[in-house]
């Protein structure tokens, strides 16, 4: 029975945080609903865990994309559609835009938010990898004030983040990339449309005078929680771009994955798939660097 569940709606952040802080029961925030509604559909019992549902979609502090002094701010409520349409994001963070473009289907992108994607924290959440690779910070708000968590530390395990029940994800802070930064998002889905990602990869790099000065390689859904492949990055950083052996390095990516996950039933598929994505991203990087 869902006798007592209440629905709350407010455009006021303070009022929302006050509701969430009320310890008499769990108030569940809902943004686009594209994750939450599916979960409720699959398990109606879930509703019993909530004292209420809080619609956060009208809270302006959680909306909008803006360039600030030395970072770009992306509100938690920014939809995938807005990300795709943003010229600022297209220019500065193309891999994030590509991730949004490859996510779900048009109605899902119209309604689903970047905040919801990250808070839901599925292993296959497509925007998480780019956020980690661009070294974004996540600004969380509660009645006690704000705290800032690096995107890479937000997810503890699939479907579990460090965000507390009394907190809302307010916005993401993406440092402005240095001049000449290249980024690429690669994804293999089981189905063209509406496929939850099986495996994806983000590469962010900067090549200066033929040398790789900065590199971040973050796989999505190949490992439970997106984190950079630091061993692989070490091998590439400081190298001459012309001397990079994409094939050898992509094999290394597969090995780094296995180091993190151990051998699993899915390993024989994921290892070569991941290697392919790494190779593709490195080939793209080389092409771009050659044209400079």
């Amino acid at each position: 029975m869902t006798e007592d569940i209440k629905f709350f709606q407010t455009d006021n952040l303070e009022a929302a945080l006050e509701l969430l802080a009320d310890s008499s029961g769990v108030i569940k925030p809902v943004a686009g609903g594209t994750d939450l509604m599916v979960k409720i559909r699959e398990d109606r019992e879930l509703l019993q865990e909530f004292a209420g549902i809080l619609d956060i979609t009208n809270i302006s502090e959680l909306q909008g994309i803006a360039e600030e002094q030395d970072f770009v701010r992306i509100g938690a409520l920014v939809t995938h559609r807005e990300i795709i349409k943003s010229e600022l994001l297209q220019e500065k963070y193309p891999a994030l835009v590509e991730a949004a473009r490859a996510l779900g289907s048009t109605p899902i992108r119209n309604r689903g938010t970047i905040g919801g994607n990250v808070c839901n924290a599925a292993a296959c959440a497509d925007t998480l990898g780019p956020l980690v690779a661009f070294e974004a910070e996540v600004v969380l708000a509660s009645q006690a004030g704000e705290r800032v968590v690096p995107a890479g530390d937000l997810v503890e395990k699939p479907y579990q983040t460090v965000i507390r029940q009394d907190e809302l994800l307010r916005y993401f802070r993406l440092p402005l990339p240095a001049e000449g930064t290249f980024s690429s998002f690669q994804k293999i889905g089981r189905r063209q449309a509406a496929a939850i990602t099986r495996i994806s990869l983000v590469l962010v790099a900067r090549v200066s005078q033929g040398t790789v000065e900065h590199i971040r390689i973050v796989p999505g859904s190949a490992i439970p929680v997106p984190e950079p492949f630091t061993a692989l990055e070490k091998r590439i950083k400081g190298q001459k771009i012309g001397e990079i052996d994409s094939k050898e390095l992509s094999a290394l990516a597969g090995e780094e994955m296995v180091k993190i996950t151990g051998e699993r039933w899915s390993t024989p598929y994921k290892k070569p798939a991941l290697a392919t994505l790494v190779r593709r991203a490195l080939v793209e990087l080389k092409e771009v660097a050659d044209n400079e």
Binding site: Q9, T106, P107
Partner: protein
């Protein structure tokens, strides 16, 4: 039961009613407002049979809480076209045999309407992207894409 009062615009008319907190827009439209053009297929955002326009954008009404649409504008397939005439898309779907069993058609029409309102003369690629959340078991999509192209052209002429 803690019902929620919700008021919104449905096909250009103000509606106001009490709903359950967890009620889906799809159920409100079909069961309470008796507009059964909008269909339920999968119920989990995969098939697009339930697509409606929310503030001009295509959304899956099976994933929207009715209480969330307070103050917003919803359009269903019943709200296409005028009193007497069909929407150009509806006419084009008929002319191009883009309808077989018809189950996907209302959703397809709403996705296509949202596209044409947003993008005057879409490319074929843009049409395919706009329809990527609508499954059709019957037609193989070719006729549907052609119908949308034809409707876009017809609207440009006007």
């Amino acid at each position: 039961m803690s019902k929620v009062k919700v008021a919104f615009t449905l096909n250009d008319q103000e509606v106001s009613l009490l709903v359950q907190p967890e009620e889906r827009l799809l159920d409100t439209i079909r069961d309470r407002l008796n507009l059964t053009g909008t269909k339920e297929g999968c119920g989990v955002g995969e098939c697009g049979a339930c697509t409606v326009m929310l503030d001009g954008q295509a959304v899956n009404s099976c994933l929207v809480l009715t209480a969330q649409v307070y103050g917003r504008e919803v359009r269903t397939v019943e709200g296409l076209g005028g009193e007497e005439e069909l929407d150009k898309l509806q006419q084009a779907f008929i002319d191009h045999q883009a309808v077989q069993c018809g189950f996907c058609t209302p959703g397809m029409l709403m996705s296509a309407r949202a596209l044409l309102d947003d993008t005057g003369s879409p490319t074929r690629e843009e049409i395919k992207t706009a329809l990527d959340g609508n499954l059709c078991r019957c037609t193989g999509y070719k006729q549907i894409v052609e119908a949308v192209e034809a409707a876009a052209e017809a609207e440009e002429v006007d």
